[in-house]
């Protein structure tokens, strides 16, 4: 029953460079970065937050865009829109999991507005990018006015709606290792198109049979484990899949919410994993 609108309005800054933006975020107490607006403005409209200062990143050109290095690694600017990621053909092979996840976020208009950096900074457990980023072994580039650091995506989410970001820090880039030839998919189970995931599976499968898998929607961070990846990379028998699912389920810490209970989400893990692997193998056969 929160009210719409705030009686007193924040200040809005619109820097053109990253340096300017980081300076503002470091020096103004309570300043919040604004990227796509999909999460932040929605919360402001609902009266859930009332920031005193907003620093819009929309004019910081260096934060946007996808670049491929000569070595083949991919850098995705934090302010790159979901739709740009969904349609970028350079995210091929195992990294196509990012495009597939992006394509299932919300609706078209939100995909035109939301950004990957803004999304992961918000850290909603039902988000689509985190499990996909896990599977690509992404590194998160974080900047503040005192420097830059890189954190593995697998260390980035620390608790419900909480990341390692400190005050004054923002995500500036996602660094993705060079794509490997193979297939990838993002299996999302939600009540309706565009809803947050009840549970999801991000999967990549190289031509050599190397498997990477991560489960979304089942805890404050995606579920992933090198052991599960090892088990599935060696074989995908029913027993192996069951063991891998058990390993992942051990890490699960889902909630009860209107989309489903924690118990239901745990039940989904082995079933959706099986389904994802079936789809992956079939896709690999077609690709071959």
């Amino acid at each position: 029953m929160a009210s719409i609108g705030i009686a007193s309005s924040p200040a809005l800054f619109r820097p053109r460079t990253l340096t300017e933006a980081l300076e503002l975020l470091a020096t103004i107490p309570g300043a919040r970065p604004l990227s796509g607006g999909a999460s932040l403005v929605a919360m402001m409209n609902a009266g859930l937050i009332a920031p005193t200062t907003l620093v819009s990143l929309t004019r910081v050109a260096e934060l946007s865009g996808l670049h491929v290095s000569p070595e083949g690694t991919i850098s995705i600017g934090a302010a790159t829109r979901h739709n740009a990621i969904a349609t970028d053909g350079r995210l091929s092979g195992t990294t196509s999991v990012l495009s597939r996840a992006a394509a299932q976020i919300a609706g078209e208009a939100v995909r035109n507005m939301g950004t990957i950096g803004g999304a992961i900074a918000h850290a909603d457990p039902g988000l689509d990018f985190p499990p996909a980023l896990y599977v690509t072994d992404a590194m998160v580039g974080i900047a503040s006015n005192s420097g830059r650091r890189y954190v593995s995506i697998r260390e980035f989410f620390v608790d419900w709606y909480t990341t390692v970001l400190r005050p004054g820090e923002i995500v500036v880039v996602l660094e993705i290792p060079k794509p490997k030839p193979g297939v990838a998919l993002y299996l999302k189970h939600a009540r309706v198109a565009g809803d947050f995931a009840i549970a999801s599976v991000a999967l990549s499968l190289t031509r050599q049979g190397e498997v990477r898998v991560a489960i979304g929607g089942c805890g404050p961070a995606p579920l992933a484990s090198p052991e599960a990846d090892r088990i599935l990379s060696s074989d995908m028998s029913v027993t192996s899949v069951r063991r891998a699912a058990e390993v992942l389920a051990e890490l699960a810490n889902p909630v009860d919410d209107v989309r489903g209970t924690a118990d239901y989400r745990k039940l989904l893990i082995p079933r959706m994993l099986t389904r994802a692997l079936q789809n992956g193998v079939a896709a690999a056969r077609v690709a071959a």
């Binding site: 809005l12 604004l34 078209e108 198109a193």
Partner: protein, 162 residues
């Protein structure tokens, strides 16, 4: 701190000045100040699509856009697209196809369809359902909307690809 700043917006091809506080959305400015009321406040959360406008030709949620942050884009609402042949084709298809009932979702729906046809002039039915899935309709059950968009696509002249 109830400061309102002046912002220069490009709306339907015209440059207009508006005053907005930092927390005010593009939706409230275009509705309350510019009196362009076709964009609707259905939820104010970006979930229903009734507030959809075009920003540089792409469908966006005006309820999630801060007005002061929109001065660098060309914003189009349906009021400004009345002369556009693609929009007119869509509107005719919607009318003859019964693709609306109460009409509240219709401006947003037409803009979303317009954006789709601009980028993909020959969409499949699945393409239409996917592209429009962020626009909710409670009245029609969607069937006649899909048929109208596909019909409009067929009626548009084939582009000669250079």
């Amino acid at each position: 701190m109830n400061q309102r700043s002046v912002v220069t917006l490009t709306i339907n091809g015209a440059v207009v000045e508006a005053r907005a506080a930092a927390s005010q959305t593009l939706l409230t400015v275009i509705r309350d100040q510019l009196l362009l009321t076709s964009a609707k406040r259905g939820c104010n959360q970006g979930a229903c699509g009734a507030c959809t406008v075009l920003a540089d030709g792409r469908a966006v949620r005006s309820c999630l856009s801060l007005a002061l942050d929109c001065d660098d884009k060309r914003i189009d609402t349906i009021e400004g697209l009345g002369e556009d042949p693609t929009m007119q084709t869509l509107q005719r298809a919607f009318i003859s196809g019964g693709a609306f009932q109460c009409g509240f979702c219709t401006p947003g729906m037409l803009l979303a369809a317009f954006a789709l046809l601009t980028n993909n002039p020959r969409p499949s039915e699945a393409d239409v359902r996917y592209a429009l899935s962020g626009n909710l309709c409670r009245c029609t059950g969607y069937k006649k909307i899909v048929e109208a968009v596909l019909g409009a696509a067929r009626a548009l002249p084939r582009q000669v690809t250079p």
